[in-house]
């Protein structure tokens, strides 16, 4: 029988190509496991990838190609928020389900939501609500941010500020914020600026290679010796931690959408082991998301008994699956998975992986940090 084809749209070239690669790793593991145990509906699973180049226009053409030319039954993917924003509105046209595994913009399961679009990963709103809960317990009162100068950085700060002032009205959100250009490579001016200011709490949403540069430059500047509460919103991403090694300071708050050491269940144990065996290092959050997405399709297709796009999309809605990060439910009404971010404090070096460990790990409950359906603006 013909295999089931699933299309993956990720960044496969340029600076952020590493994220596409992580997703591919997670997907590979899932696909191999599924195929080894008989596939989906008795059919083997086959992946077809397209490079989004991080551009909405490219991703949209890629999706059309995957659906109309490659004949895929379902789509996974999307790393960048801009790509997601552009692509999601075209999904009803394609009549195939899409599970977003990485892009974090709230809108795609908010005001842009539609019946074909799902997200299995944590979004900015969820993560920032958790961040606010972490910040609530800290002594800092003057908060500012350092984030990339595009939607993600600005949105993170907005959501964080809103939640934090709700639960802790006496904090001060500084008007002096810092948004270095994405890919700027030099963050020293912004680091100096924060050090010269009255801030005692900083939300840092810089990520990826930029974050690596940021941390190293901050070390040079003595930034971490100052008495500041630091929240790194994507700080516990394994690629960043392994690049930095012990240059990542201890005792700062790091978040990730999935911490490999945080879940004590069989699926996670199996997943982490398989990943470490295959790729020689701990899995990153977006490898986990992509891994889980394939299993989500398996369950949805088997529930629907078909690979028909509309039917599969329908059965995804409200569905729960067991994933490395526990039971994951796509909430009816906005199709956002109820998953909680992981926040912890950077601790001693991990004996095997050469990265910082997370101590005092807090795994937030997905429901607790999610916006209500009314707040999302999604009308399904």
């Amino acid at each position: 029988e013909e295999p089931i084809r699933i299309g993956g749209i990720y960044i496969l070239s340029g600076s952020a190509a590493t994220y596409g690669e992580f997703a591919q790793r997670g997907i590979n593991l899932a696909v191999n496991e599924i195929n080894a145990s008989g596939g989906i509906l008795g059919r083997q699973v086959e992946m077809v990838y397209e490079d989004s180049q991080g551009k909405a226009s490219v991703a949209i053409q890629a999706a059309r190609k995957l659906v109309y030319s490659e004949g895929v039954d379902a789509l996974v993917g999307l790393d960048s928020s801009g790509v997601a924003q552009g692509m999601v509105p075209t999904m009803p046209e394609l009549q195939k389900p899409l599970i977003i595994t990485h892009a974090a913009t709230p809108d795609v399961t908010g005001k842009l939501c539609n019946a074909f679009t799902y997200r299995i990963s944590v979004n900015v709103a969820q993560n920032m609500k958790a961040a606010a809960l972490v910040a609530e317990k800290l002594d800092a009162t003057n908060w500012t941010t350092i984030g990339p100068d595009y939607a993600f950085g600005h949105q993170s700060w907005e959501f964080f500020g809103n939640y934090l002032t709700q639960i802790k009205p006496d904090v001060n959100l500084m008007s002096e914020t810092n948004f270095p250009r994405f890919g700027a490579e030099d963050f020293t001016p912004f680091i100096d600026r924060v050090m010269d200011s009255d801030a005692d709490g900083v939300l840092i949403s810089v990520w990826g290679g930029d974050l690596v540069n940021f941390v190293r430059q901050a070390n040079n500047r003595g930034f971490f010796e100052k008495d500041l509460e630091l929240l790194f919103t994507v700080g516990a991403a394994t690629e960043v931690l392994s690049a930095l090694g012990d240059e990542m300071p201890e005792s700062v708050h790091l978040s990730t959408r999935y911490w490999f050491d945080g879940y004590d269940n069989d699926i996670n144990t199996r997943f982490v082991k398989a990943y470490v065996d295959a790729y020689d290092g701990p899995p990153s959050y977006n490898a986990e998301g992509a891994y889980a997405a394939i299993y989500a399709y398996k369950k949805a297709m088997e529930t629907a008994g078909t690979t028909d796009g509309l039917a599969v999309a329908k059965s995804l809605s409200g569905m729960s699956i067991e994933a490395p990060n526990g039971t994951v439910t796509f909430r009816k009404g906005d199709n956002q998975a109820m998953v909680g971010p992981n926040w912890g404090i950077s601790g001693p070096m991990h004996p095997e992986y050469g990265i910082r460990t997370l101590t005092d790990l807090q795994i937030f409950n997905g429901e607790d940090v999610a916006r209500s359906i009314e707040e999302t603006g999604c009308k399904l």
């Binding site: 190509a17 810092n178 890919g183 690596v212």
Partner: protein, 289 residues
């Protein structure tokens, strides 16, 4: 350290790194009349080679500084012999297209060889840490970058203005046929200049490696910056390239801090203003526009 002082110093160190990278672009353009889009890719290659030599092979930084640029220069000789030689006599558009193709090839090869992960190189022991100068602590590596930049500037200036080789390069650039009949082996000059430009790019890459995280998009990040540097300072002028690099460093250093809403615009605004009022760049000379 006071805000302005440290911002100044920081601008200087970014500026000099940019200078080292951009000056090769400047030379290749000035002598060969080629806009080398692959210059950033060669810079990246220098950085990745350094990464391999230092982190994998375990060589000291200084050996990498010597060897990695040499390797890139050798690659450049091959590129010149097998690809560029076909298009030197054609107009600038062809070289644009070919070096763009090269950029694609090198970028992808780097991704295939080194993977797309983020890599980090440590500075050598000698240059790690900070030094106290006038009561403020300055990363030793920044000083090293500044010294390297200035040393290269001096060397290049001497080479081009005080040696016959420099004049020969300029002559070959102006009129290749005429240079040929005056006993100048222009093929050799051309190959040499291209390899030299690549060498400079790679030196920039090695020097950048301990300061910048390595990823397969790092070349693309630098190429437009290099254009800006070259244009602001003036095509063909080394002190100009230095000035352009420092100005761009200042724009980045102060723009982000004091005009965050328009910081992306500023470098380009600066470049446009320079071109409008001094089309040949601040220190450029040569034919009027």
């Amino acid at each position: 350290m006071s805000g302005i002082g440290s911002a100044l110093l920081n601008s200087l160190d970014i500026g000099l790194l940019l200078f080292i990278i951009a000056v090769g672009l400047n030379i290749v353009f000035g002598v060969l009349n080629i806009i080398n889009f692959a210059h950033g890719a060669l810079y990246m290659l220098g950085a990745y080679l350094a990464f391999t030599l230092i982190n994998i092979v375990g060589m000291p930084f200084w050996a990498a500084l010597l060897l990695a640029p040499l390797g890139v220069a050798i690659l450049a000789v091959l590129i010149d012999r097998f690809l560029l030689r076909y298009i030197y006599s054609r107009d600038i558009a062809d070289s644009l297209l070919l070096t763009f193709a090269l950029l694609l090839i090198i970028n992808e090869s780097v991704r295939m060889i080194w993977g797309s992960g983020i890599q980090v190189v440590q500075p050598p022991q000698l240059l790690a840490g900070s030094m106290d100068i006038m009561g403020s602590s300055i990363p030793t590596y920044s000083l090293f970058v500044i010294v390297m930049g200035l040393a290269l500037l001096a060397g290049l200036w001497l080479l081009f203005n005080r040696t016959r080789i420099g004049r020969i390069m300029r002559a070959a650039a102006l009129d290749r046929d005429m240079a040929e009949v005056l006993c100048i082996n222009t093929r050799l000059v051309v190959t040499g200049v291209f390899a030299f430009g690549a060498w400079l790019a790679a030196v920039g890459g090695v020097i950048a490696a301990p300061m910048r995280a390595l990823d397969p998009g790092m070349g693309d990040k630098i190429i437009i910056e290099s254009f800006i540097v070259v244009v602001i300072g003036g095509l063909g002028s080394f002190p100009g390239a230095l000035l352009g690099a420092i100005i761009l460093g200042l724009i980045h250093g102060f723009g982000g801090r004091y005009f965050p809403e328009v910081n992306m615009l500023l470098p380009f605004l600066g470049m446009a203003l320079v071109l409008l009022f001094k089309p040949n760049g601040i220190m450029g000379k040569g034919a009027a526009a």
